[in-house]
Amino acid sequence: MFNYTFQWKQAFARLPQMLDGAAVTMQIAILSMVLGILLAITLTMFRLSGSRILSAIARTWVEVARNTPALFQIYMMHFGLGSFGLHLSPFLSILLGITFNNAGYLAENFRGALKAIPETQTRAARSLGFGAAGAFGYVVLPQMLRIAFLPMTNQMVWAILMTSLGVTVGMNADLYGVVQDLNALTFRTFELFALAAVIFYLITKIITIGARLIAARLFRY
């Protein structure tokens, strides 16, 4: 029993607004990925550093990021910090929330990738005259990023989909936020959300295909 007449025209009339939202969604996802990768590399280095404190920090970060819902992490960025008087805008809350999550997951991916690189690589690099940092930066890191490339693509897709959680912290400029605003205005729920789902699908599809092309180009033997 589904008593509903679809009015696609009304939804398509709102498409420009939705595409503007999609651009914001992309912006958040890309920024959160760039920051997330940098942080994840830092966390990985913390773990390798041998310092107890640094590796404890890294482990705690990964534990919290991986074992609590992303919704909770984003909510905490806004209302959790807010209760201490630190007010982040919705954009920053969602961006930092997703970045936190990305960094946690990617650090684990990087750790797994590192395990797949034989230790002889480091030793060979060192014997060729690289310092500790040089051996990591020039020999180990590129291989690590290569092994972790597909999981990184995965995380990017995940980051895009997570932007939809922004509505919980007052975000209304991203794709999901725009659609929800329009829904309240028109009650054309099914058309609007169907259209949004297609846009989400297309974005993530473009990214996975793009990543595959980049991988084919970068990682040729």
């Binding site: 589904f2 829904n183 028109t186 729920t189």
Partner: protein, 267 residues
């Protein structure tokens, strides 16, 4: 005429091609009226300490079920999910403080108004907002999907300065306001009073009225269910006529009873 033939004819008349059952029939036959109610909207819909739904809308649904001679079932529905709940057949009627905008009436069928809200401005005490006009240029917010959110967002665009933020629930709006993430909010005056009164949100106070139109809210159901809409309209009328509307208003809200008619025009 053959006796058996007559019986057969009567049986055929009774069972073959019955008049098409509409939603009103379905509700009466099923013995249950399922109402979409927003339970994050005190005093219209909320939960008591035992987690049971209570509030004006809950009582209104119970009254409606009693009038129909069926059992009431309260289906908790957040504001943005009212229409999906109706369209997917999870609820029969929305008793969910739904503003009867023309835009929305293109999608669902609205009854005559059963309640009317006035809008109030609630501000964080440190924000310096003392009236509606003071909100210009400030960070303001409201509950996503409500009449006041739509009106306030439009107002912020007209002012051309300041920021509008919609939050998912009324509780989040007041939390953000209390933390100072929002300078002020516009909500129905009933919600504003009842949230300030709880003491859960320190540092906020109701500072004045918002000059938005009176927010008339209607019951809603499927647009083409005229039988049911007709019944609902009569029910709303009877609630006022019998004094039950005034009684419920006194019980949940108190103060001056809002008039549900507009002068100078029919319906």
């Amino acid at each position: 005429m053959n006796h058996k033939f007559v019986v057969g004819l009567l049986a055929a008349a009774a069972f073959a091609a019955p008049a098409q059952a509409d939603k009103l029939d379905d509700i009466i036959a099923s013995g249950t009226l399922r109402c979409a109610v927003v339970l994050d909207f005190p005093p219209m819909g909320m939960r008591d300490e035992n987690n049971n739904p209570i509030g004006f809308d809950v009582d209104y649904c119970n009254d409606l079920a009693a009038a129909l001679g069926v059992k009431a079932e309260i289906v908790e529905t957040p504001f943005p999910e009212r229409i999906p709940a109706l369209m997917s057949g999870r609820v029969d009627v929305g008793v969910a403080s739904t503003s009867d905008t023309l835009e929305r009436a293109k999608t669902v069928g609205m009854t005559i108004p059963y309640f009317a809200f006035e809008m109030a401005v609630t501000a964080n005490d440190k924000s310096g907002v003392k009236s509606f006009e003071d909100m210009k240029g400030k960070t303001v917010g409201a509950t996503a999907g409500t009449f006041e959110a739509i009106a306030l967002e439009k107002q912020v665009q007209e002012w051309g300065e300041g920021t509008f933020r919609p939050y998912q629930t009324q509780a989040d709006v007041f939390l953000a306001l209390s933390q100072g993430q929002l300078d002020a909010t516009v909500s129905t005056s009933t919600v504003a009073q009842s949230n300030v009164k709880t003491g859960n949100f320190p540092g906020i106070s109701v500072v004045g009225k918002a000059p938005f139109d009176i927010d008339y809210v209607a019951l809603f159901t499927d647009r083409h269910e005229y039988g049911l809409l007709n019944y609902l309209n009569l029910f709303v009328n009877q609630q006022v006529r019998t004094g039950r509307y005034a009684e419920l208003y006194e019980k949940w809200v108190g103060g001056d009873l809002p008039d549900l008619t507009v002068s100078g025009v029919y319906r």
